[in-house]
């Protein structure tokens, strides 16, 4: 037994970390980029977003939850949606990254490292945002362990995502060291934990039997599907920037293969959503059908459908997945669509008031719960995007995210 269980000493861990290849850079290096107009704009935008984050956080620190527009009837707001947006992106990137290094599809090897790094960056951004939504993050760290709520989907989701992040980092380190065997092991564990975490996130909603629109098995599976779709969108975006849309042949092949998968996934998604709507509306549950019809009337739902589904599928079908440039732009739009998808999920769950009577003399009986994010919520959310982009940029400087030449 002694031999099989290998104990790591601190020293060994230190050595392991020290052996990870990275570029020695200074702040100056980070600030030095090719001063094209586009880059300057991009840099400005990221700085602005980070600034917003700081402002939003300050507002939160000054006013607590009063800085948010969440209410008794709508306790989950934009920050939850943005958190979901990031963690789904992370899971998606993890899936895309795993295609090469876990499942061994050679074509996809060249995005693995970048995707895995992306998954780390996105989940960190997600955590950065949720830290300001959870009222007491420190208490959470303590009592998640001291008195774990094992029947709580949110506990599993949070805990598993924590583990997932750890595995992703380890996998990434092995990838950097080109230790493909260990990378595969940790990649596989990470992927499985990630999928478990992710379906638990769906479960967070699926378990809500008070909320008929979300209740059931739909969200846990739907989440995995949409994660994969998100991963591919982001893959296009990352590669598009990396190659400034001048894809090498290898990349072109990989991307158009990814596009074909994307076509299939989006078709399934459309099929899913159509059937969800049909069963919601004609399923004979009065409450649920009302909500579904209400959703059909909201522009955010159509933003999701058009941007994340219809436009990308149209382009993919039209060019058989070969028009990667257009698909790069469609993916940018797709991510906006995916944002609305997350926002809608959170908002729609809470659309129907649980208490439908008037509790004040002068009041209209509650019909639908209204919510629009506050300035602080919007700033922190945009800030999350800023953090994500900044970390990714620093990563590109710090690490070699391109595939290594050995294969």
């Amino acid at each position: 037994m002694e031999q099989t269980v290998k104990k790591f000493s601190i020293k060994e861990i230190k050595e392991f970390i020290a052996s990870i290849p990275y570029n020695k850079i200074t702040i100056k290096d980070i600030l030095s980029f090719e001063k094209t107009k586009e880059n300057k704009i991009l840099a400005g935008v990221i700085a602005l977003l980070l600034g917003l984050f700081i402002m939003g956080v300050l507002m939160y620190l000054l006013h607590g939850h009063h800085a948010y527009n969440v209410t008794r009837e709508h306790p989950w707001g934009l920050l939850i949606a943005v958190y979901i947006f990031f963690v789904v992106s992370s899971t998606g990137l993890c899936i895309v990254g795993s295609l090469g290094d876990v499942f061994g599809f050679k074509d996809y090897m060249l995005i693995s490292k970048r995707a895995i790094f992306g998954s780390i960056v996105t989940i960190l951004s997600g955590f950065a945002v949720i830290a300001f939504e959870i009222g007491h993050p420190v208490t959470m760290l303590i009592y998640n362990i001291v008195s774990p709520g094992l029947r709580s989907a949110i506990w599993w989701m949070g805990t598993l995502y924590g583990l997932y992040l750890t595995f992703m980092i380890i996998e990434f380190m092995f990838l950097l060291k080109n230790d493909m065997k260990n990378a595969r092991t940790f990649g596989l564990i990470g992927l499985l934990v990630g999928l478990a975490a992710h379906s638990n996130l769906g479960g967070v909603f699926g378990f809500l039997n008070a909320r008929t629109i979300s209740n059931g098995v739909f969200y846990p599976t739907y989440f995995i599907l949409t994660a994969f779709i998100t991963g591919i969108f982001i893959a296009f975006i990352m590669m598009g920037f990396r190659y400034k849309l001048n894809f090498t042949k290898e990349v072109q092949v990989m991307l158009s293969n990814l596009a074909k998968i994307q076509g299939l996934l989006i078709s399934i998604l459309i099929f899913f959503v159509t059937w969800k709507m049909l069963t919601d509306i004609y399923g004979g549950m009065e409450n649920r059908s009302g909500v579904a019809i209400h959703i059909l009337g909201s522009w955010t739902f159509w933003a999701e459908v058009i941007l994340a589904m219809l436009i990308p599928i149209y382009i993919i079908l039209k060019s058989k997945g070969d028009d990667t440039k257009k698909l790069f732009y469609a993916s940018l739009g797709g991510m906006v669509g995916i944002f609305f998808m997350r926002y809608n999920l959170v908002h729609d769950t809470q659309l129907k008031p649980l208490q439908m009577m008037k509790t004040e003399q002068y009041q209209l009986a509650p019909q639908w719960v209204h919510y629009f994010p506050s300035a602080a919520e919007i700033m922190i959310s945009l800030g999350g995007l800023g953090i994500c982009l900044a970390l990714y940029y620093v990563g590109t400087k710090l690490f070699n995210l391109d595939s290594d030449t050995h294969h």
């Binding site: 009222g135 208490t139 709580s152 208490q355």
Partner: protein
């Protein structure tokens, strides 16, 4: 050790909201319309003046149902929401991380955020105040002009509430969700 529940003679209710004020003053509930542990729902009566449907204008007093199978307790990641020895569903403010999951999970809209502690709060059958002092009524029951509420131990077959539940027809809210509420509405 008891198993507390409450029966409501809800037809008595005149929607005066004395219960809400008594609850706030007894338990230090914040002011602010959405910060209430207890509420009374009313409707605009159906119909067109002068032919209004009286039956449609009933008042429904309500509060946390102290579900025996409480979704709020199930979803709480830190066990901040728990059943105490008396079968009362309570929130331990020290453990609550304000993830708000319970607020979404409670089918009865019984929970709100206390903005002083930034934790979730709700009716606790006056456990920290009246019950802690050994009193046997809740603030909302005690003050009610038309005596809508009867609070007591469901496990004691001789308690007033047990007798009532054996002898009078009653219903619970959203029974189909399987939450097993312990607020009983008397017909």
């Amino acid at each position: 050790m008891a198993n507390y529940g409450m029966a409501l003679d809800y037809k008595n209710c005149i929607n005066c909201k004395a219960c809400e004020v008594a609850c706030k003053e007894e338990n230090g509930v914040e002011l602010g319309a959405e910060k209430h542990r207890i509420w009374v729902g009313g409707n605009e009566p159906d119909g067109i003046w002068p032919l209004l449907n009286i039956a449609s204008a009933a008042f429904m007093p309500s509060q946390c149902q102290h579900c025996e199978n409480a979704p709020c307790e199930e979803v709480c990641p830190t066990h901040a929401t728990y059943y105490d020895d008396n079968g009362v569903v309570r929130v331990d403010a020290d453990k609550c991380i304000l993830c708000s999951y319970c607020m979404n999970a409670c089918p009865y809209d019984a929970r709100y955020v206390d903005s002083r502690t930034m934790t979730v709060d709700k009716c606790n059958f006056c456990s920290e105040t009246r019950l802690a002092r050994g009193e046997t009524t809740t603030a909302c029951q005690n003050t009610c002009p038309t005596k809508v509420r009867i609070f007591g131990d469901l496990d004691d077959p001789n308690s007033e509430i047990s007798v009532l539940l054996r002898t009078r027809e009653h219903f619970t809210l959203k029974t189909h969700l399987g939450t097993k509420p312990k607020l009983f509405y008397m017909l």
